[in-house]
Amino acid sequence: MNLPLAKVSRVLTFSCVDGPGNRLVLFLQGCNFACLSCHNPHTMTVCNHCGVCVPACPQGALRLVDGKVSHDGQLCDDCDKCLDACPINSNPKVVEMSVGDVLALLKKNKPFLTGITVSGGEATTQLKFIKALFFVIKQSESLKDLTCLIDSNGYLPEHAWLDLLPVTDGVMLDIKAFDTSLHEALTGRPNARTLASARLLHAHGKLEELRFLLVPGKTDRPEEIRSLLQFTKELSADLPLRLNAFQHHGVRGEALEWPVMTEVSVEAIAALLRMGGLNHVTTPAVYL
């Protein structure tokens, strides 16, 4: 069988912010949104081998070989100067991993893991890989108790979700804004598909968590919070809702001019939502 390879920006073996329990997280490269507020902008696009990053590397870990950028992990000291130099929000350190590579990692770390989460970038842009990986995990005697979750912006269309859901335990879905023109201004895309995905996933019992990024003066406005409350309640008052707070960590470009979201404001909004009837609202543990 010709199994697809994944373009992986980063692997974590310990994460407590990508779903319940400790999770191995694959950050897949490439995204179909272009969020101004993105805190991982180097995961947005796939490398086009322009080579601009090569001379930027102080360690000499990057070279152009036959027109392709090659990265030497032994020489690299993760200073990330290459990410700053990249003109297209990509990452020369991306590696290709097979399903077998990921299974080997899961087996090695199994005693520590509650499950695996594919994140990004936008994970679902590498749909075939995710489907193959989750399918094999579910078939494996030693790995089948790991939960398989996806972090997503919800842009995936319905038929593709239906294809993926049988092997997926749950999806953590980001809603960037309820007003669609605001959504488009923030992400470059309208939000109809995201809202439809939320409803679809919930109807299939696969909506693990809704996430909403609070950006001062944009998504923390009363009308946005009212829509958030109403939308979530229509799904279920018991649905876990995680409020994230816009911060400058990792952010590039014009969003660095935006003010950050303070803990006080986040807690005030959380209190409003709880008063409005939502039972599982969580707020950030850390403000960077």
């Binding site: 310990f14 407590c16 400790n22 005693p111 509650t114 969580t282």
Partner: protein
Amino acid sequence: MPDVRVCFKEITEDPTLSFAQKARALALAAENSLEYPKLDTQTAEALEERVICDMYEGHAPYKPRYVLPDYSVVLTEGSSWLELAPATTLDEAINTLMIAYHHVPSVTNMPVFLGHLDALLLPFCDDVSDEALYSKIKLFWRYLDRVLPDAFMHANIGPTDNRVARTILKVDAELKQVAPNLTFIWDPQLSSEGILALACDCIIECSKPHIANHPIHTAVFGEEGYGIASCYNALPLGGGASTLTRLNLYEVARRSKDTEDFFATVLPHYIELNCQLTEVRIKHLFETSGFFDSFLVKEGWIHKDRFAAMFGVFSMAEAVNLLQEKEGRAGRYGHDDSANALGYRISEALAAAVTARPMAHVWRNRAMLHAQAGLSDDGGCTPGLRIPYGTEPDPVTHVQALAPQHQFYPSGVSDILTLDETVRNNRAALVQLVKGALSLGFREFTANIAHNDLVRVTGYMVRLSDIKRFQQCGGSRINTTVLGAEAAETGDILHRAPRVVAHEFTSR
């Protein structure tokens, strides 16, 4: 002896010490004005150069370093020496323990072991309501912290899920006190998921308790049992440890031409010298001091034949990195397979040598290997087998690198995992990490949550706010703050994730 008198004078006038702390420092200074027990030249030299070390326990050992009484004896039989009848109610039981603790010595003169409190108190709880239990435990906890303010004082709970253990976890998380230190003993066959989750909640609140691996400890200590005392020291119950001496592995590596020389000649030489130092000190305790004529032995709280000799090692990381350099290999301890393998080989050699060497007056006639957490002034040397501060990999890689080491250290080894605050919203991640670490053979799991005020400086707790206050105006109610402050200055603990540096009193 004018030098000694100058030293006494300085202690009496030290504005940062309370009067009790002065009394303790004076006693130690007086003891140290006596002649050291007779050492042969080589051992004396190695001690002088601090390749081997007596932990500055004092020149005339007149009490064991750690005493772990079986407190069930005084609870069920009373004490004729202390004129106590057997306890019949929870109030009497707690009161008896409070009295008992004052008669149990240790290297710090404070008790380092408070007993398996749930097992000790449960028999008295049948007709006690939850509210009453909570309020009595809370008062008990307040008493311990205020009257015996030493973070080496260690309470044990578990492995069963019971009312007393649950109440203690609740109170401990609520009060966030420096004392007592706390271990939850975990056994996958006996401990419920619920109580493990509660213990993890408590870790998230205040970086306590430690979680001990009961099946692994039971395999060492058997039916007669063990306790976790002081930092994370596993020792025979109804006994303890006479001494702790330790080997500075970095100093041993420095004196070796190469890895072969290290293993063939230099390491065995210093292991032997450290054993001789141990023997001399234990001989004084057993044959000269008269300690074992105490009522504690006569009434059966402790037994003379259940005292271990702890053979400590530290600075494994620096030793391995130096030997790697001598062999022309770049890989660093904690991050590289060849460096980690060299570390395992050193531990294996240490364990084999210690197990092969008989020792008089010692539990089972052999010393017990211990990964020693360091003194507050061990600048530049990493405690025990730990990965140097600031260079630790992620918690999972961290555990995987060190888990194979744990089998060699029956009297205790601890690696402190620093977790970032995001774990507060995800207790299940912590539970999973605990289970992963213990299933890989970790004897003891210890975590600090970043930005908790209460943090572990070696195996004991300090409050960062106390250290700050101590540095600003001097003086602390709690003995270990002084050590933590010293460790903060030499070990850089406040500049990054809370860390382990110090252990006991150093000669100042």
